[in-house]
Amino acid sequence: MKDENASAPLLQVRGLVKHFPVKKNLLGRTTSFVSAVDGVDFDLRQGETLGVVGESGCGKSTTARLLLHLIEPTAGTIRFGGRTVGSVALPLKEFRRQVQMVFQDSYASLNPRLTVEESIVFGPMVHGIARHVAQARAHALLERVGLDPVRFAGRFTHELSGGQRQRVNIARALALQPRVLVLDEAVSALDKSVEAQVLNLLLDLKGEFGLTYLFISHDLEVVRFMADRVLVMYLGRVAELAPTEDLYTGSRHPYTSALLGSLLSMDPDRRTVAAPISGDPPNPIDPPAGCRFHTRCASAQAVCAKGAPGLAAHSREHWVACHMFDAGSGHGSAPAKAA
């Protein structure tokens, strides 16, 4: 692992699927599923921040939980540094030491009966680090995330503000010296003035500890600020994957364009006059056949209801799952198939 090829992804996700059972018949057999994540592929490269955006129900949080095996995938493989997660080569416990998560709800994700210090020390001690070493590390981390250890180490979580609690969560995630942080809506519950502080902290920590981030958020402005590349999800599938500025200035997928079109202008003379798409996202229990977006898509044609478009390279780094960009798909706007 020391001589890792620079271009090999740190984390490789292939064919990730998660179906949640929702209904059972009289015999106790499951009769319907929510396909929360349905065939997701992506790579997380060493040192990058990969943003994941999408609306509620698109599967972005489920993907995060699957990554850490907090829930078991129905299908798919996750490889970390070339080794399959959960195999003998990379047991789950070792993987989780290297990949840590910060959740949206800073209060629910901390044990209310533990002090700040005990919360941070717990993980390293489980992994066999001596208490005094773990304590010293906890104090250094508290200092680093901007909480004076003398004042905060002995406090309980209810004595902290939302921003302070999220700093504790970040310190706790870093206590195992991981290589990857999965940030699932980590700043979404914070007020704007506090959010900016935590975003700056995350940027600083990334440089300092050489971290790789998977940054999940519904806030497109925050993702644009944080991410190097952005993955757009819709109803359990990847719609588009591209370098951040490519995506924000030259999105290809109609869903991405609608999402970006829903951003508010902040300019009283350029108020939104028409909604880019109508209706709510469909129910993931019974998702539309073919391309899952075709029921809301202005460019949809007959082919879109038939087959699901695969993720195809539009340019070297820009991937789109849309029949309009798939040569020979049968969509009127698709480029002609190269001979």
């Binding site: 609306e55 704007k192 900016a196 519904h218 644009r224 709510d280 996202p281």
Partner: protein, 326 residues
């Protein structure tokens, strides 16, 4: 102000349930003319929702101390009680909430809830007539297949549709003032835009006065004529949307506008921040509540709460340093 449909004067709200009273609202003055939309902008704990709820007297009386005056459509809200208060709610002033799932009754159909509201407030309306009006309201908020949806229960609708149903319910008795408490915060971006456009359209057609509470400046800019920025229970800046967005004068407003992560990151750029965190409302400092976080604070800021400084065109700021610059 003459001709105002809603006038709040020196509103003070303190919650007395805890050991120390929490001063959630600390002297708010606000007046709306008919058909005007004011966005009440602030972070959590700034008192924006408490101000809004005071207008309908929704706070538990035994644990709340309210002072000041509120007059809505000529009715002295503070003097209301019992049946008169129940009649006032929904008929003169109505409200929509952030979470329709909590605001709507889960065991009655949407149609039943709307017809009940109409028949309770207007005696002599038959059940059929009320149902017809409910159908009209559902068409107006553009719920697809409205006839069928009237017989749906709240849990059978998607989030966006539930929010539309709640708007229909709020408008059922033709109120003159609509209070909106973060009605789009829980919605997805593509749905939020649809609801904002709907509210703006209905507000114009019905000539409603509206107070729109939000933490999102972008939402405020989208719907409001004026923006009032709240901090620690006071309106620290108020003015026409253009003035507040383009030429903010209070250090807090300036800070809020600059902390937004907008337009992406130029290589390695950090976000400008407001240091510290919002104050404890149970022990507010005697002076300007923002002073401990303000980079231009001087010792004079800590002495007394700053009075509002008029900058013209209804733009007013509570900061002692603003007068010197103006």
């Amino acid at each position: 102000m003459t001709g105002s449909i809603l006038e709040i004067r020196d509103l003070r709200v303190a919650f007395t349930g805890a050991a120390k009273p929490v001063r959630a609202v600390d002297g708010v003055d606000l007046a709306l003319v008919p058909g005007e939309v004011v966005a009440l902008l602030g972070e959590s704990g700034s008192g924006k929702s408490v101000t809004l709820r005071s207008i309908l007297r929704l706070h538990p009386e035994n644990k709340t101390r309210i002072e000041g005056s509120i007059v809505a459509a000529g009715i002295d809200v503070m003097a209301l009680s019992g049946a008169a208060l129940a009649d006032f709610r929904g008929k003169t002033v109505s409200m929509i909430f952030q979470e329709p799932m909590l605001a709507l009754d889960p065991v009655y159909t949407l149609g039943a809830q709307i017809t009940e509201a109409i028949r309770k407030h207007e005696s002599g309306v038959s059940a059929d007539a009320a149902r017809k009006r409910a159908l009209g309201l559902f068409e107006r908020v553009r719920i697809p297949s409205p006839e069928r949806r009237l017989d749906s229960y709240p849990h059978e609708l998607s989030g966006g549709m539930r929010q539309r149903a709640m708007i229909a319910l709020a408008l059922a008795c033709n109120p003159k003032v609509l209070l909106a408490d973060e009605p789009t915060t829980a919605l997805d971006a593509t749905v939020q835009v649809q609801i904002l456009l709907l509210l703006r359209e209905l507000q114009r057609e019905l000539d409603l006065a509206m107070i729109f509470v939000t933490h999102d400046i972008g939402v405020g800019v989208e719907v409001a004529d004026r923006i009032a920025v709240m901090y620690a229970g006071r309106i620290v800046e108020i003015g026409a949307v253009r003035d507040v967005i383009r030429a903010p004068r209070h250090p807090y407003t300036i800070g809020l506008l600059s902390t937004r992560a907008q337009g992406g990151r130029l290589s390695g750029k950090r976000l400008p921040t407001i240091t510290g965190s919002p104050p404890d409302l149970a022990s507010l400092p005697p002076g300007c509540a923002f002073a401990p976080r303000c980079s231009s604070a001087t010792s004079a800021c800590l002495e007394a709460a700053p009075a509002a400084v008029e900058l013209g065109h209804g733009h007013a700021v509570r900061c002692i340093h603003t007068a010197a610059v103006a």
